[in-house]
């Protein structure tokens, strides 16, 4: 997968997007990478200073910004693939770094070449992310809170909130809104043109704080009225909109769950 010698020491990666961008930038400029990743040593664990000169560990925001600029300038689709690989949480970072190395060696077109296993595996993960982003652009359901904020609860398979933000910021115009990921306990609040990231209890507290039954009942009525009994095809409906998303859809959530809100 990689043209480098196996003797090279594995790169440390702390799981953050920032350090992934730095690593991808390194692989791109070197045209190679060691072939494996390891988690960084906690500082107190080693007797010796483990960090080698130039090895990225931890996420230095300034370094990440420089890497981002270079990736966008000369990495072609690489920057977008970094974001999606990271959001996928599928562990495809090695494939990403192999591809970055290949591009660094001047193998133009490698990112589109599905005959390469790393491209195929990486692209498959990225397209699952894209599909979920696209789906949730439609399936996120907002309701107004008592403070006027429109808030949506989500439980996405992948860590896609960052990719949903620009879409909803554009859609909501000046209206303040929040996206809450119940599974990862993170949230983003967009208000007055600024975006704030929250986690833990603070994130969960941004969820809806009152019932929105009037609007939801009207919407359910609409949804029932457009059903076409002559053409029912529940298998197709589930394929287009997997049942795991239904919980947060007022038109499809089961009665019991709905009433407990």
């Amino acid at each position: 997968m990689s043209a480098t010698s196996s003797a090279a020491r594995a790169w440390a990666w702390d799981g953050s997007l920032e350090s992934l961008l730095i690593l991808a930038d390194l692989a791109l400029s070197a045209g190679s990478w060691p072939g494996s990743l390891r988690s960084p040593q906690p500082p107190e664990a080693g007797l010796f200073d483990e960090a080698e000169a130039g090895e990225p560990c931890g996420a230095d925001p300034r370094a990440a910004e420089g890497a981002l600029g270079r990736l966008r300038a000369r990495g072609g689709p690489l920057y977008g693939l970094c974001l999606e690989a990271w959001m996928s949480e599928e562990g495809v970072e090695p494939q990403l770094l192999s591809l970055a190395s290949a591009l660094g060696r001047g193998e133009a077109g490698a990112a589109e070449d599905y005959a390469r296993p790393e491209t195929r595996i990486l692209r498959a993960a990225c397209s699952r992310v894209e599909r979920e982003v696209h789906r949730l652009q439609g399936l996120a359901r907002f309701s107004p809170r008592s403070d006027g904020l429109y808030s949506a609860l989500l439980e996405p398979d992948h860590n896609v909130l960052p990719a949903l933000l620009p879409h909803f910021a554009r859609r909501f115009g000046g209206q303040a809104f929040a996206l809450v990921d119940l599974r990862r306990r993170v949230a983003y609040l967009s208000r007055g043109g600024r975006i704030e990231a929250l986690s833990g209890e603070e994130a969960i507290a941004l969820g809806p704080d009152r019932s929105d039954e009037d609007a939801q009942a009207l919407w359910r009525g609409y949804f029932q009225a457009i059903e076409n009994p002559a053409r029912r095809n529940p298998g197709l409906q589930k394929r287009l909109m997997p049942a795991r998303y239904w919980k947060h859809l007022p038109e499809l959530a089961r009665i019991g769950e709905r009433e407990s809100v």
Binding site: E107, A115, R116, G138, A225, R232
Partner: protein, 419 residues
């Protein structure tokens, strides 16, 4: 009538209109406004029969003075009648839009009065949404044939898309089943729209040249139309060539086909039967081949073939009729030739073109690239060697029958960036 009852009644009456797409337009919210529509279109839910729910699709009113045989709102039907007010429609649209239930509004109406009066009501709803609510979401307005050019132009200034339904494939069928409708009037509305669209394009070009602000574009999402399949005796060839000429003459974005669903017995209609869903599906495939794969109407159905093959998708059918075109060489064939291979779609053809630049392709790679080899192998060669035996059309036919695989719309590619 309660608002909820009205909503159910007027949504139920509008549901058979197939044109639900909210794509093909891009606009943002006005200052202090809300909403944006994106060219890719977004589904907000899927109904029990797998239709994408994107727009709030409603009739302004189901009162109608016409008596079209295939329509649940026709004047002779024994059904409750109701109408919205513009306030009600604006309120529901905004409430649903803010909650991300919908991409926008699709508004049509029965002909409850003079065409101009009906059209003026639809335009008024769109005007309020845009001007009073700063709504930047999607608006599709149905054009009422016979309404004035002036109203049509106002409609185009507020709406993303306009559509005049052609309803039936020939004037003879219109006269029989929709006696108050005139094909000339419908085509006239289409011509007006395509002219206004052209003028608006020119004007915005001129404005760019002079560095002036362009006037609002005329229906930037273009126009579409719909026709009912199976209520009248026309064959598929008539329908396919009608669609092809609508695309050419009026620059339509989409033609929608709707399998006829009997709503009430009527001596003018064929005896009740299951809706011709298979036929509708084949027509969509043929349409897709014309719009995205570069097939001409005459290639899809020649003079000797009145109808699309029920067992074969139209692309496979063409391949079997044209054995001399194959095999197509994986290493060197142009993109357009690759597209004609059954089992190989737009994505597959693009991937082959990209991959063969970098690596030497092997037969096993093709399957991994998303190409349906079970169908494609019979039509491909790799460095001069056929990937499947050379079989005659009679042997290939059962191997390609049904299963689809051919004309499926691509999923839209997304651009990602952090805010």
């Amino acid at each position: 009538m309660e608002l909820a009852d009205k909503l159910a009644l007027l949504a139920g009456a509008a549901r058979y209109d197939a044109s639900c797409a909210s794509s093909g337009s891009s606009r943002g919210a006005g200052p202090g406004g809300i909403g944006a529509s994106s060219p890719a279109g977004v589904c907000h839910s899927w109904t029990g029969d797998g239709r994408c729910v994107s727009l709030l699709k409603l009739l302004y009113s189901n009162a109608c003075r016409n008596d079209c045989a295939y329509c649940a709102s026709r004047s002779s039907a024994d059904t409750r009648r109701a109408s919205f007010s513009p306030e009600e429609l604006v309120r529901i649209t905004m409430a649903f839009y803010r909650r991300n239930y919908i991409e926008g509004l699709f508004l049509s109406s029965g002909i409850f009065s003079d065409p101009d009066i009906v059209m003026e009501r639809l335009v008024e709803v769109a005007r309020r949404l845009r001007e009073e609510e700063g709504f930047g979401g999607y608006i599709h307005l149905k054009v009422i044939p016979g309404s004035s050019e002036k109203l049509l132009r106002r409609a185009g200034a507020y709406a993303d898309r306009l559509s005049a339904n052609i309803e039936l494939p020939t004037q003879a069928s219109l006269s029989r089943l929709a006696p108050q409708k005139s094909g000339t009037e419908i085509l006239g509305a289409m011509r007006l729209m395509s002219e206004a669209e052209g003028e608006s394009r020119e004007e915005s070009g001129r404005a760019r040249g002079w560095r002036r602000a362009a006037p609002p574009p005329f229906a930037p999402g273009g126009q579409s139309t719909q026709l009912v399949v199976g209520a009248s005796p026309e064959d598929d060839r008539t329908i396919v060539s009608l669609a092809s000429s609508l695309y050419r003459r009026f620059g339509l974005r989409r033609v929608y086909y709707s399998a006829f669903l009997p709503v009430a017995p009527d001596p003018r209609l064929p005896p009740p039967a299951a809706p011709p869903l298979r036929r509708e599906h084949r027509l969509y495939q043929a349409d897709w081949l014309m719009r995205c794969y570069g097939y001409a109407a005459e290639e899809i159905l020649g003079a000797a073939e009145p109808s699309l093959d029920a067992e074969l998708d139209p692309k496979a059918a063409w391949a079997l009729r044209n054995p001399g075109f194959f095999p197509v060489e994986v290493e060197s064939a142009e993109y357009e030739r690759l597209l004609r291979v059954p089992g190989l779609g737009i994505t597959g053809a693009r991937r082959i073109v990209a991959a063969r630049r970098g690596s030497r392709l092997e037969a096993e790679d093709l399957g991994k690239m998303g190409i349906v080899m079970r169908r494609a192998r019979w039509f491909l060669s790799l460095r001069g060697r056929r990937l499947g035996e050379e079989l005659g059309p009679e042997l290939l036919r059962p191997l390609l029958a049904e299963g689809g695989g051919a004309a499926r719309p691509p999923s839209s590619q997304l651009e990602l960036a952090f805010a």
